[in-house]
């Protein structure tokens, strides 16, 4: 599904990604961990097509196509979803209106007819139940006045609405209390199928209690320095990153 090879990216003169290699197949869950400032969020932004970053080398293949040739909305319509670490507040723009356009763009890209108002409302109701999102929130402006937990639930709700092939969740667990964490993680798990994939970027192993990864990658200074299975997350939780970083320095 996703094949990243030797990906280098910079913001301004500063190189942040220094040769990322990552392959994600359908049906898989990957976790990317690593200390602060290692480039985790940058990787997510670059894959989503944030124009703040410049790709200086390498390639990204998504569903057999060169992903880098597309702009951010085209990538979205091809089925790439980014759950933001800090979802933006958009005053005056209601969730319902916003999502309606987004869903119909998605459908148009897949050659489907736009939803009727009734179909759309039914879908909203159904999907908001997945993350126990208060349906009142959908009549409010996007993320405006939402609590931290509500914003993250709202991200997963939108993911459910858009039904992406690949979801990259950037620190979705940050700032969540344990209940919200459970709800968000359960939502993600329920959306998982054989034909889609999830990349979870996280700081803490606790999210991985709910979303069990097939692979755990450690990102450090713009490179993936180690890949293991779910037990790696537990080891990192207990022992920190130092042992890996020290090894890496010696290389």
């Amino acid at each position: 599904m996703l094949k990243v090879e030797n990906l280098h990216a910079s913001v301004g003169d500063k190189e942040i990604l220094k040769g990322i290699n990552l392959t994600v197949k359908a049906g898989e869950v990957h976790a990317i961990m690593g200390p602060n400032g290692s480039g985790k969020s940058t990787l997510a932004s670059v894959l989503a097509g944030n124009e703040k970053f410049t790709v200086t080398a390498g390639s990204v293949e998504f569903e057999g196509e060169n992903l880098l040739q597309y702009n951010i909305e085209e990538r979205s319509r091809k089925g790439l979803f980014l759950g933001f670490q800090y979802p933006v507040e958009i005053p005056g723009v209601t969730m319902a209106n916003f999502m309606k356009i987004a869903v119909n763009e998605q459908r148009k890209a897949r050659g489907l007819e736009p939803l009727t108002a009734a179909e759309y409302l039914r879908m909203m109701k159904e999907k908001s139940a997945i993350v126990e999102l208060d349906s009142k929130l959908t009549s409010r402006a996007v993320n405006e006045g939402f609590s931290g937990g509500e914003k993250k639930k709202n991200e997963i709700f939108q993911m459910a609405m858009l039904d992406p092939k690949l979801a990259i969740l950037d620190e979705t667990d940050s700032g969540l209390d344990i209940d919200a964490l459970r709800i968000v993680a359960t939502g993600v798990t329920r959306l998982k199928r054989e034909d889609n994939a999830t990349v979870v970027i996280t700081h803490y192993q606790r999210l991985l209690d709910y979303i069990v990864p097939d692979y755990v990658h450690v990102l450090y200074k713009g490179r993936i320095i180690y890949t293991g299975d779910k037990t790696l997350a537990l080891k990192l939780e207990k022992e920190g990153y130092d042992w890996l970083i020290n090894d890496y320095k010696e290389e």
Partner: protein
């Protein structure tokens, strides 16, 4: 066409001449000077659509009367609306401006406990030269005014807002708020002159003005969810002006729809 539909939906009666208004819904085309009196104690709704050219409309809102005005400015016009609000009377006004024009609203609160509210938007595209004036005179004590005007200047347009809140000596316990928020896009120019002239001490007066841009992070967010750049921008501008448009002083489903359509047509020029 849209305006005709709007007036029909409100079942507004055209007011051909100057005169007295009782309760009911009325419409006027601001194509000539007029003097209008809203009778004491009545509740009237008035739709004022600008005509080509200039006009001066004087409105007296008599004591205890409630007047709601929807003012649509979509021609090359220069309309002055001078509104005097008497004791215990109230005037709420919504103004939607989407053309090169010069519109002036001068509200005078002449009786105690009078109230004036204005919610206005102007959306300008390439070539528009537009001036919006909203002055409020607090001539006596215990009156309230609320002015909120939002502006969008895109292309090579020039939008100018000027608003003076005057508080006369002894107009104690005046409560006044004025805000003017503007967004520039492309080569738009915004000029804003929020002014206070205050001669009484027991007052609560504030004004605020901002000039800025659309939030680029919000655009990015919407695009990540698959919206085109144009859609994201349009949605954002609609969101910016919606609180004024959706709370129109003259209400009705068709009103909201027509105003939204007027602005959407305008925004298509972006």
């Amino acid at each position: 066409m849209e305006i005709v539909r709007l007036l029909a939906s409100l079942q507004a009666s055209p007011m051909p001449l100057s005169g007295c208004l009782g309760s009911g819904v009325w419409s006027i085309e601001a194509d000539a000077d007029r003097d209008i009196v809203v009778e004491a104690g009545s509740e009237a709704r008035l739709v004022v659509v600008d005509g080509e050219g200039s006009a001066e409309i004087n409105i007296d809102v008599e004591s205890g009367a409630k007047l709601r005005i929807l003012n649509i400015v979509h021609h090359h016009s220069a309309t002055t609306m001078a509104i005097a609000v008497a004791e215990g009377a109230e005037c709420r006004m919504t103004q939607v401006v989407c053309s090169s024009s010069d519109s002036r609203v001068v509200a005078s609160l002449v009786g105690r406990e009078a109230r004036f509210e204005l919610g206005g938007v102007f959306v300008l595209t390439d070539g528009d030269q537009t001036s919006v004036t909203a002055d409020v005179n607090h001539m006596t004590s215990d009156c309230v005014s609320r002015i909120k005007v939002k502006g969008v200047a895109s292309g090579k347009s020039h939008g100018r807002f000027s608003g003076l809140v005057y508080v006369a000596p002894d107009a104690q316990r005046t409560d006044s708020e004025q805000t003017n928020r503007n967004v520039t896009i492309g080569e738009g120019r915004i000029e804003t002159l929020p002014q206070l002239e205050i001669y009484a001490d027991d007052v609560k007066c504030s004004h605020g003005a901002t000039v800025g841009q659309m939030d680029s992070d919000a655009i990015l967010y919407m695009r990540q969810r698959g919206l085109s750049l144009a859609d994201a921008k349009r949605l954002q501008i609609e969101g910016f002006v919606d609180d004024v448009v959706l709370h129109s002083a003259v209400e009705g489903d068709v009103v909201a729809e027509v105003l939204t359509q007027l602005l959407a047509d305008k925004l298509n020029e972006l």
